[in-house]
Symmetry: C2
Subunit: 331 residues, 2 copies
């Protein structure tokens, strides 16, 4: 079913995320794509998708169509893309799918300040990358984070949210700093711990690796991600990640001290088990609510902060009616 607010889209970058988005959107809206790589453009066109050969021509067309421009390049390529947006389609509707949001918001503010921007981050991925790795199902049941400020235009947010809903995601409204703090803890810290665990395990030599079973395999899985991808995520979210690392170092240091002095790990085992249980039970007790009105942005932010998410959008005479899931005990 096509989302009401779904705009035409121009996807800049056809790697895993951009390529999956083109595949997922093409049956439902007019979607074009561009990649700096000629081989990638050729592959996408050969697969039957609409590809433009020139970034600026694509941006001009997006401006004409009032399409949503989705920047899906690696983070280092953002400044050049945003400069092209500002030159060619300065007031276009703009979003992106980068895994850090404060940095990108700052870049948009300085390089494409007239763009109508609402940043996004689909919490989906695989160990693979590139056009060929993409899949129309990549975003199904994932969180599609949308970043609002008090100045955000609800209409632009609705277009970005419609994109996420169309590809099967839960749309989570939040603010960029809150997003960055959260992903530092649930994505970037897990990568650092996996890297450290892989090394501490390998330092045990051939016997240790020979004995390693599922606890080590699971705990180190994301250490298999390409180092440059981990660096791009983590180094661009430095301050929030430092806070998260310090928390983890503090918890481990206390546990180490307790084990050394009293022989007991009661505190970390019980608190950690309770935290894992909270994770397993997240999303339970959510109820359907409908949001609307002049303070829609505030209502959306309250939903995201409480662990809720948006499930649908409907245009009304005076704005948007938003269906969401929200914890019952926060009502």
């Amino acid at each position: 079913m096509r989302q009401d607010a779904l705009p035409p889209a121009f996807v800049v970058g056809l790697g895993l995320i951009g390529g999956s988005l083109v595949r997922a959107l093409a049956p439902h809206t007019d979607v074009r794509g561009w990649s700096p790589g000629e081989a990638t453009r050729t592959a996408a066109a050969a697969d039957g998708f609409a590809v433009v050969d020139d970034l600026r021509a694509g941006l001009e067309r997006a401006a004409t169509d009032d399409a949503l421009v989705v920047v899906a390049t690696p983070v280092p390529a953002f400044p050049a893309v945003l400069a092209a947006v500002d030159e060619t389609a300065p007031t276009v509707r703009l979003t992106d799918v980068a895994s850090v949001k404060g940095l990108i918001a700052d870049q948009v503010e300085s390089l494409a300040p007239r763009a109508r921007y609402v940043g996004a981050h689909p919490m989906a991925g695989t160990a693979h990358s590139g056009w060929a790795a993409g899949s129309a199902d990549l975003f199904r049941d994932a969180a599609w984070v949308t970043c609002l400020t008090e100045d955000s235009d609800p209409d632009v947010w609705a277009a970005v949210a419609a994109l996420g809903l169309q590809v099967g995601s839960r749309v989570v409204p939040t603010e960029a700093p809150a997003h960055d703090r959260a992903v530092a803890r649930i994505s970037h810290l897990p990568h650092l711990l996996a890297l450290a665990l892989a090394q501490a395990g390998a330092a045990g030599g051939d016997l240790a690796l020979s004995l390693a079973a599922s606890s080590f395999a699971d705990g180190t899985r994301v250490a298999g991600t390409r180092p440059e991808l981990i660096r791009a995520m983590c180094e661009n979210n430095r301050d929030a990640l430092l806070d998260a690392v310090d928390d983890a170092l503090g918890l481990l240091g206390v546990a180490r001290g307790s084990l050394a002095s009293t022989g007991s790990l009661v505190k970390i085992t019980e608190s950690g088990h309770a935290a894992r249980t909270a994770f397993e039970q997240r999303g339970s007790g959510l109820e359907d609510v409908t949001l609307s009105g002049d303070d829609l942005v505030d209502q959306l932010l309250a939903v995201g902060a409480a662990g809720g998410y948006v499930t649908g959008l409907r245009a009304t005479d005076d704005g948007w009616s938003v269906a969401a899931r929200y914890p019952a005990d926060n009502d």
Copy 2:
């Protein structure tokens, strides 16, 4: 196919590991079981397995049959079981399946010193426990660690190894201290890191848990293990675990310092990725070898230390011919 050296067995403790062992062995050898819990004994008997109602009667029968006694109780119950062995079946063939081996070897030495003991540790488990959770397939393709000393009797080792081979495991010979150092790194440290990660993530609140995806789910999975089981493993392997934790803290501390001062995570990402790759490639390049002779124990220890394992046993006129897999470049 029945292993040549497979002895009759008496399994003391019918939880996940003991219960799985009874199920896996019953088609191939005479196996009896005992549990301190009457309900467990009733359930095992109802499932068609041979259950004895009294620990001492079972041990007496094991001595008569020259059965291998397998202690599969929780670690805190070991002293009582070993005292019963020493009273009732003092020179019986004895093994165990506890996840720490130095501590158990010390307890056997002091409480059942006449027993012919070779400790073992099957690297298998699930999140569940108890008789009902058991499965005859639990040990398939797992490492079955066997702990030797220079005084070990090859005949007793062969009986313990035959048990592991019969249930489908790779039999890894090593010494108890080396086992304990290895599992500190590839099993106990992963549990501590998972517990710390679960807490650091939950400290990010409902938004963070709502955004958490596979990296967090995988990295915290074993934090869902019952706290008392994690404590039993980790607290009983204190010294080795402290070394492993200190390694991890050191690696994370250096990465934290680098991120804070230079913004770079190049070192931990590249070293961690290389370590994960080494784990993924473990066991490649192994070749079939045959071990035999007076220095069999030394040969077995060399196989385990190099990441190899035993795949078969055959009795010969003057001892054992042991089939193993061993790295080609160590020949």
